[in-house]
C-alpha cells in the first residue's frame, strides 16, 4: 500500500507525517515537529512547554485558550499549530516584564478578578488585546467583548472591575 498511502488514498486511516516548523512565542523561536492535526493550544503547552495557556472546552466556546496572534486575540484551540508558523504569538507568559506585572495583571490582583485562575490567562489576553486596540473603549462595549469568555468562579463582576481599572490606569499613564 506504500504508494497509495503516501497519497493518503487508503481507506480507514490517513498517513500523517509530522511537519517541522518554527513557532515564535513571546519573541522566542521554538522549533517544533507535530502532526497537522495538533492544535496550536496543545502545541504551545506540550512542545513549547508554556502551560499558561489553558484548555477548557476545546471547541471555541469558553475562551480559556485565548492568545494573541499578529495583534489579534484568537482561540488557540481552533487553529492548527502549522497555521501559526511565521506569525507573532503572544501568551500570558509574555505579559509581565521580568518581575514587573502588566497593569492588567496587577488590576486582577487588586480587584480579585480571579479565584481558581483557570480562566484568567484567556481573560488577560482578550483584555490586553482589546485595550491595546481600543484604549478608550467604553464600559458597554467592554462588557460585550468580555462576554466572549467564561468564568465559573468570580461571577464576572470583579473581572469587569479589574479590566476597567486597568483601562483607566493605562489611559492615565499615556
Amino acid at each position: 500500500m506504500g504508494e497509495r498511502a503516501a497519497e493518503g488514498l487508503v481507506t480507514g486511516f490517513v498517513m500523517t507525517e509530522k511537519l517541522a516548523f518554527t513557532l515564535n512565542v513571546n519573541g522566542r523561536d521554538f522549533p517544533v515537529r507535530v502532526e497537522p492535526r495538533r492544535t496550536l493550544a496543545d502545541t504551545i503547552r506540550e512542545e513549547c512547554k508554556l502551560t499558561g495557556t489553558h484548555l477548557g472546552c476545546e471547541h471555541g466556546v469558553c475562551g480559556a485558550c485565548t492568545i494573541i496572534i499578529d495583534g489579534e486575540a484568537v482561540r488557540s484551540c481552533l487553529m492548527f499549530a502549522v497555521q501559526a508558523a511565521g506569525k507573532r504569538i503572544r501568551t500570558v507568559e509574555g505579559l509581565a516584564n521580568g518581575n514587573e506585572l502588566h497593569p492588567l495583571q496587577r488590576a486582577f490582583i487588586a480587584h480579585h478578578g480571579l479565584q481558581c485562575g483557570f480562566c484568567t490567562p484567556g481573560f488577560l489576553m482578550l483584555a490586553v488585546n482589546t485595550l491595546e486596540q481600543q484604549p478608550d473603549i467604553g464600559d458597554e462595549e467592554l462588557l460585550d467583548v468580555l462576554a466572549s469568555n467564561l468564568c465559573r468562579c468570580t461571577g464576572y463582576g470583579n473581572i469587569v472591575k479589574a479590566v476597567k481599572a486597568a483601562r483607566d490606569e493605562m489611559r492615565a499613564g499615556k
Partner: protein
C-alpha cells in the same frame, strides 16, 4: 476532543487551491477557512476530513472591493472586517450592524464571511444577509467558474449548491441606494450565541409609501429566505404600525418553523412575528 489525522495542504494561489481540491475532494478533502465551525466539528469527531486545503495563504482571496455596483467579499475576508463600514451608504452600515451579532471578538478575528455562507448554518447572520439582498456566490473548480444566485444556493440545514471540489472564491452583494432603509432584529438566549430567529428588512419610500420591500428571515426555518407574503403586505403601503403588524403576521403565517426539544415550532412562529415587527420598526426610525 482531538481532531482525527488529516493531510494538510497550503496552496498559495486560487489555481493551486482548486487543483488540490480536485485531487483530494473525492477523498473527503475539505476547505479550511477560518476554522471556527470546522475545527469544533473535528474536535467532536463529527467530521473527520482526510485532507484539509487551507486557503488562508491564498493572497488573491483576501480582496474586499466594490466593483460594478457590487461589494466583492473574498474567501478569506474575516467577520471583523465589517466592524467598520466597508462600502459607502446603507450597505456598509447594514453589515456593521449585523456583524456585532456574530459570535465574539476572537471568533470574528478568524471566521470568514464566505465560510459562513459555505457552512450554511440556519442561524447564520451572513446567510440571512445573502438571502435578503440577493447575493451572488462565485464558485471555482477545476471545471471552471459559475455564479450561483442566493435563491438557488441554500438547499437545507448546512447544505448548499456547492459541489464536490468547488471553492467559494467570493460572495458579491449589491450596493444599496442611499435612501434604502434597513432594520435587523435577532433573538437568542445568550449574547453572541446562535439566533433562534432573526429578520432583516429593507425598503425605500416614495411619496410616503413603501417601495422595493425585502423581508428575509432565518434561524426559524432550515434555510434563510425572503418571505413574499410579508413583502406584499408592505408594498405601496404607508410605513405605519398597521402595515408593519400585517407584514409580521404574514411572515409568521408563511413559515415552516424548525422544531426541537428546546424550541417548539409555535414558539419560533411567535418569535418570527416579533423579530419582523421590530426589524420593520427599526427600519422606519
Amino acid at each position: 476532543m482531538k481532531p482525527a489525522p488529516f493531510q494538510y495542504h497550503a496552496p498559495r494561489t486560487i489555481e493551486e487551491a482548486v487543483a488540490t481540491l480536485a485531487r483530494v475532494a473525492p477523498d473527503d478533502g475539505r476547505v479550511l477557512a477560518g476554522g471556527q465551525s470546522l475545527v469544533p466539528t473535528m474536535a467532536f469527531r463529527l467530521a473527520r476530513p482526510r485532507h484539509l486545503v487551507d486557503i488562508n495563504g491564498v493572497a488573491a482571496l483576501s480582496r474586499l472591493v466594490v466593483e460594478n455596483g457590487k461589494l466583492c467579499i473574498g474567501a478569506t475576508v474575516r467577520h471583523a472586517a465589517f466592524e467598520r463600514p466597508v462600502a459607502k451608504g446603507p450597505l456598509g452600515e447594514l453589515l456593521r450592524e449585523v456583524v456585532r451579532h456574530i459570535a465574539h471578538k476572537p471568533i470574528r478575528a478568524r471566521g470568514t464571511f464566505c465560510g459562513s455562507i459555505a457552512h450554511a448554518d440556519p442561524a447564520s447572520e451572513w446567510c440571512l444577509v445573502a438571502a435578503a439582498l440577493g447575493a451572488e456566490m462565485v464558485a471555482r473548480s477545476a471545471r471552471g467558474e459559475r455564479v450561483i444566485p442566493a435563491k438557488d444556493f441554500f438547499s437545507g440545514i448546512m447544505t448548499t449548491a456547492l459541489q464536490e471540489g468547488e471553492l467559494l472564491t467570493e460572495v458579491r452583494l449589491p450596493l444599496l441606494s442611499a435612501d434604502t432603509r434597513f432594520g435587523f432584529c435577532e433573538f437568542n438566549r445568550r449574547a453572541g450565541d446562535f439566533a433562534i430567529a432573526m429578520a432583516l428588512v429593507t425598503f425605500r419610500l416614495k411619496n410616503s409609501a413603501i417601495i422595493e420591500p425585502r423581508v428575509a428571515i432565518s434561524g426559524a426555518e432550515a434555510t434563510p429566505r425572503r418571505i413574499a407574503q410579508a413583502e406584499t403586505a408592505l408594498d405601496s403601503h404607508a410605513p405605519d404600525a398597521k402595515t408593519f403588524a400585517a407584514a409580521a403576521d404574514a411572515a409568521a403565517k408563511a413559515i415552516d418553523p424548525l422544531d426541537d426539544e428546546n424550541t417548539s415550532a409555535d414558539y419560533r412562529r411567535g418569535l418570527v412575528r416579533t423579530v419582523v415587527l421590530r426589524a420593520l420598526e427599526r427600519a422606519a426610525t
